[in-house]
Amino acid sequence: MKHILKTCLLGSAFALSLGIAQAQDLTPLNSDAEPDRMDWSELEARFGPMPETPAGTKVGGVSKTLTNEYWRSLGEGYANVAKAEGLEFVYQAAQSEGDQLGQLSIAENLITQGFAVLLFSPQTDANLIPAVEKAEAAGVPILNVNDAVIPSAKNYVGNVQKGNGVNVAQWFIDNRPDGGKVAVIEGQPGVYAAGQRTAGFTETITAAGNFEVVASVPADWSRELAFNAAATILQQHPDLIGFYANNDGMALGVVEAVKAAGKAEQVAVFGTDGISDAYAAIRAGDLTGTVDSFPVLTGEVALEVALRLLAGQDLPRVVATPQALVTADNVETFATSDMAALRAALLAQ
């Protein structure tokens, strides 16, 4: 037992006697509320066409995990721009959504590789902070892309998380004028995106007056947990008229629970993200809608922003990326893989 104490005391005493590091101060970023911001659609109008980037410039992206379609699509967007601009491009991700240290290692390993700029999509708000500090020391600019927010990030590109929930709430207000009971299936507790999406929905729909949010429970982004939670809520509130889930995976779990309860006609179900399964479910009439944040286009916008910053343009700290409520009415417009057509459709909104 003495050894343990000695070990610990020695360890901490040792640590106490060592080195000094520098720290810097920056207003902690809140990507939804940051006043220094702009919408992606104003980029060309305010800052002109894309600046020339020297061919062969090295750019890199580090995202959460490639097991999730969202992050594969984001990488596709990066790759589109990298190819168009003739850049050298590397895209890496951790093994799984929870692998915080693995992602940190990957990010740190890339910093020494001579990249002109790196785009980080961290697992959590904190896990890539050492890499950001290291990159700063090495003079490599970092762009924080969707959806965890590094508090010290100098530049952030991503969607307005709160807007996702607001969009869905607005649909209920427009299409269910009589109001009624609704429920929210939340993502991982403590995750910024989950909290903001839920808040956007709940605040907007409660303000309408005739709606009641009877349940708001976390299902940790899991389809199975969402299924179970929705089944329980439906038993408790048989007169429920709608669900809002913080992502599409969970929404599809909710759809199954609603179908199992035989309430597909009565209950509208919305998700967030716009994954391909969600589009299929909307076409099949199972899912009422989703708020698509267009990951491929987001990736394109993000890398464009990175290149504008490299060229010395003084962009606002936050650039908001596109999002739109997709339902059976407009699903074919937004399902296009032609990014130019998609940009046009979104700009026409």
Partner: protein
């Protein structure tokens, strides 16, 4: 009887080291950056947290147990330590409190296993959920930011060019090696893990030995948490996800037997560096994470096969 297992360990350590040199050699040829001093330090720094956890795991495994709860124990220690620091407590007090939390969790695991007579796997599996839940409840799920710079400086500084976390873990490893090889506790751990009943009959304090192993593991989880806390500048209740698996992998590559009674501090350290070097080298070569996982799996299995082959040669 006392000499032959010791000799076997040294032989096994040489094998692990050879594996590391082989992997390092391949990467050195394939990517020029790999063998530069900053990158090697990078590997050590990235391996230091896993190494810290794996040292405790090795002692527990040698005693015939397993500790699956290390990640959540680290998270709980981190959020308690961070909350104290942000609340204005002196850094030393917060550090001791974090270590105390780690040891307390280890004590609870140990008591349930020894006095409660429960299986280590199940107890620490329960702990995996329990301590994670406590960390989440304590913080309400949100990270604690705003740690004092004085604390962060401890982990972000260097000693003669070597990052402090590497120095701290090296010292801890030396202590663990001394404990295992030069003290009665080390002999007890080996004896208890080899054959608990025989050890009991020959007068080894089995209960105390196991308690010590789990408490050391808890304390080292807290040390790992403190290192990461300083590096991140924030305490997250989700910290330490899947740490137990990396630590077990490192111990196994280093020659620890999950049946107990066998394991090596040097082997575990080299195992950690192998895993770190693998991840680093494959990232430098821009190999996707899925293949890194594949490589890790292959190396663990190859290490086990070599283990089996060499153990067979010694005839027992």
């Amino acid at each position: 009887m006392t000499k032959s297992p010791f000799r076997h360990l040294r032989l096994r350590d040489a094998g692990t080291l050879l594996g590391l040199l082989l992997i390092g050699g391949v990467f050195a040829v394939l990517t020029p950056v790999f063998l530069t001093a900053p990158n090697l330090l990078n590997i050590l720094q990235q391996s230091s947290i896993n190494a810290c956890i794996a040292l405790g795991m090795t002692l527990v495994i040698i005693s015939g147990g397993i500790d699956l709860s290390v990640g959540p124990v680290a998270a709980l220690s981190a959020v308690v330590g961070a909350a104290l620091m942000v609340g204005g407590a002196p850094i030393a007090v917060a550090v001791l409190a974090a270590l105390g939390v780690g040891m307390l969790c280890g004590l609870m695991n140990g008591v349930l296993i020894t006095l409660g007579g429960l299986q280590p796997f199940i107890v620490t599996l329960g702990g995996l959920s329990l301590y994670r839940a406590l960390a989440l409840i304590f913080t309400g799920g949100t990270p604690i930011f705003g740690l004092p710079d004085g604390f962060r400086a401890l982990t972000n500084g260097t000693l003669l060019g070597v990052p402090n976390p590497v120095v701290v873990v090296a010292v801890l490893a030396l202590l663990a090696w001394v404990v295992l090889n030069k003290t009665p506790l080390g002999e007890y751990l080996m004896a208890v893990g080899g054959n608990a009943e025989a050890a009991r009959i020959s007068g080894v304090p089995v209960t105390l030995t196991k308690l010590a192993a789990y408490m050391i593991s808890g304390a080292l989880a807290a040390v790992a948490a403190l290192i990461l806390l300083g590096r991140l500048g924030a305490a997250e209740p989700t910290m330490g996800n899947l740490w137990e698996l990396d630590a077990i992998a490192a111990a196994a590559i280093g020659g620890a037997s999950l049946m107990g009674g066998r394991g090596s501090i040097i082997g575990t350290l080299v195992g950690c560096i192998i895993l770190g070097a693998l991840r680093n080298g494959l990232t430098l070569m821009n190999v996707q994470a899925f293949y890194q996982l594949l490589a890790t799996g292959i190396i663990i299995i190859v290490a086990m096969l070599i283990d089996r082959a060499t153990a067979g040669k010694e005839g027992h």
